[in-house]
Amino acid sequence: MSIERLDEFRVSESPLTPETPEPTVVPAPANREIVLDVSNFSVDYGTGDATVRAVHDVSFSLRRATVLGVAGESGSGKSTLVYGMTRLLRAPGIISGGAVNLNVTSDDKSEEKVVNLVTANEKELRAIRWSHVSIVIQSALNALDPVRRVGKDFDEVLRTHRPDMKKEERRERAKTLLTMVGLDEDRLERFPHELSGGQRQRIMIALALALDPELVIMDEPTTALDVVTQREIINELLDLRARFNFAMIFITHDLSLLVELADEIVVMYAGSIVERALANELYEAPRHPYTLGLLNSFPPMSGPRRELTGIPGSPPDLSDLPVGCRFAPRCPYVMDRCRSENPPLATIKGSRRQVACWLQTGDPGVAVPVELSREVRVASDVRGDNS
């Protein structure tokens, strides 16, 4: 490494001390409950004619200590969304628009500021990553270094982000973290290959929580595990969430899991949000035909056996999207309008839920099928509506 590069490196290592007012840092808004606010966020892969829009104009916000579930099949852009949001996206991925405003509380809890992650520079990102936002990546089973003992991973994180911690303190912290996720302390001395899939996943979760972040992103954390281990990890996560009050974005293709786990769910299809609702509303009264199809794709565990149809066809090719609504070619309720105009994500009258479907515009000329106009049995309101 050349001297100049070394200097650059040192600068980025220095603690966050803005000498000039940072343009990306604005005073905290009135609503301190919002941890993350994403607006009109888009991600492209490639440039020029070959551009594929993987995430299209996505907006949502996340309240403190709530769980947002993101559901969608492979290629729907759910992983790209979170990698883009956290600026972890690699080339050829490019953020092509939008803002991701994160409400950051300083370590001593004295002040709050809002940082736009899209425009933040490396130095600002470095101060935020892991301490304020952490991520448990997909295939976490392969994310641990196979030639290092697990304890080393904990030590490294703490040494980098908490330089004033002593070696013994770091060790103690690592032990506490392991106990938190239900592992024995002696696991710190193990190599990843000596641990089972579920244990490695717990290590990843413990690592993500090492610095007490406000937001933890989970990208398909339980997909590779069998149901019994999945159940244990989910229970563990809910328990930890209750104790440490972090907000969580949970990505999975398993909608039935999200219904149990999440407070609010967004369903993505071909890079866009097609429906956004509270978990129980979404389960009991889906409004978008795709959500209904997804819910009907899980064989029930009780009741008589009957034939299920799922969703015919296959997910669209993002480089060759249909004109109009992207779900139209697979939709059983398709109308003429769907084939020419793409429906916007609009709020349904009289509720806070949103859906992108021409059936749900409230137009009296459109007959909404019974299964897409069900009532929610219990109008329960999940935490947070204190405005």
Binding site: E73, G198, D226, L255, P299
Partner: protein, 352 residues
């Protein structure tokens, strides 16, 4: 016309009796290399009958894939017997072309099991040529195989490469490849676990259709007990290489009797009944398998003294419903070690 293009033949029964496979692993030590025996599959008996789907459910490491590979004769059993239509197959010998033309295996990951440098046409025509079809008829047979798995029109798919197809389409190609030699037994090892939720049902319905319309005997291996309940005629739950519970129809899911099955069912996300969530002890070691006694004893919430000392036999808890658990030793109907033939007959009579 070769034998390959003949229509449906006589019903088949592939039977396994006490199939066992042990793997010997070496535990590295400084001087002594200790040997450790992994009992991957222990005394498993099952029958695959024409027109029926048999589901094997279990977590990773339960031995379900080894079982499928033994039935396909890719892995040689340590002991046990295989019968095809009542004729004993020499399990120690190399598998024959005649056997593979009757029994075919579909693997879990279609992207890994299809050669990326060959077109779909190659994957379908090559097994046909190997199995004695004439060059002039292979294209027609390959087309017919694609139509059977609802890949229409076949011309659109024959000249594609695997990367040009979606996971669901490619898994259908894998099934078509297995079907093109017109086997009578299809072994499907987790055929849907790598597929998207929205296309899973399509593949399940395809298997069900093949079974109903073409009288295929299907072994469906899965870790998803809900999908087993959806399509299976008989469901078998495996734990650590042993069958712990089996039943016909949906009895096993509706009234599980083995503590492991109960745990498995309680673990499935079930938004319809969120109160039913059982939670196990915090950390379990997946392979904490007791050396003596019941293999599930270290994790079992109902463990008794007898469980730690003796491995339970199969107790009958209902018509055709067996449970490998001491809890059912006192059931009035309990019959120890009911022969599979007797059990099947009983199951059939109650179901029809």
């Amino acid at each position: 016309m070769s034998a390959l293009s003949e229509p449906t033949r006589t019903p088949v029964q592939l039977s396994a009796r006490d199939l066992t496979r042990h793997f010997v692993t070496r535990v590295p030590g400084r001087f002594v290399k200790a040997k450790h025996i992994v009992r991957a599959v222990d005394n498993v008996s099952l029958d695959l009958t024409a027109g029926k789907i048999t589901a094997v459910v279990g977590e990773s490491g339960s031995g379900k894939s080894v079982l499928a590979r033994m039935l396909a004769r890719i892995v040689k059993p340590t002991s046990g017997q295989l019968f095809l239509d009542g004729t004993e197959i020499p399990v120690g010998a190399r598998r024959t072309l005649a056997y593979t033309s009757e029994v075919q295996l579909v693997l879990q990951d279609p992207f890994a099991s299809n050669n990326p440098v060959h077109r779909v046409r190659h994957s379908l025509e090559r097994p046909l040529l190997i199995h004695g079809a004439h060059k002039s008829e292979v294209e027609g047979l390959a087309r017919a195989a694609l139509s059977r798995v609802s890949l229409d029109p076949p011309d659109k798919f024959l000249d594609r490469y695997p990367h040009e197809l979606s996971g669901g389409q490619l898994q259908r190609v894998s099934i078509a490849r297995a079907l093109c030699v017109r086997p009578r037994v299809l072994l499907a090892d987790e055929p849907i676990s790598m597929l998207d939720v929205s296309v899973r049902l399509g593949v399940l319905n395809l298997l069900k259709g093949l079974c109903d319309n073409e009288h295929l005997a299907v072994l469906y291996i899965t870790h998803d007990i809900a999908s087993a309940r959806y399509i299976a005629d008989e469901t078998i739950v495996m734990y650590a290489g042993q069958i712990v519970e089996r039943s016909f129809g949906t009895d096993l899911v509706d009234e599980p009797t083995h503590p492991y099955t109960q745990l498995l069912i309680a673990s499935v996300p079930n938004p319809a009944d969120p109160t039913s969530q059982a939670s196990e002890t915090k950390e379990h070691t997946t392979f904490a398998i007791a050396e003596a006694g019941c293999r599930f004893a270290p994790r079992c919430p109902h463990v008794m003294d007898i469980c730690r000392a003796h491995d339970p036999p199969d107790f009958k808890v209902g018509e055709g419903h067996l449970s490998h658990c001491w809890l059912h030793a006192n059931e009035p109907e309990a019959v120890v070690e009911l022969a599979p033939e007797v059990r099947r007959r009983e199951g059939e009579t109650t179901k029809t």
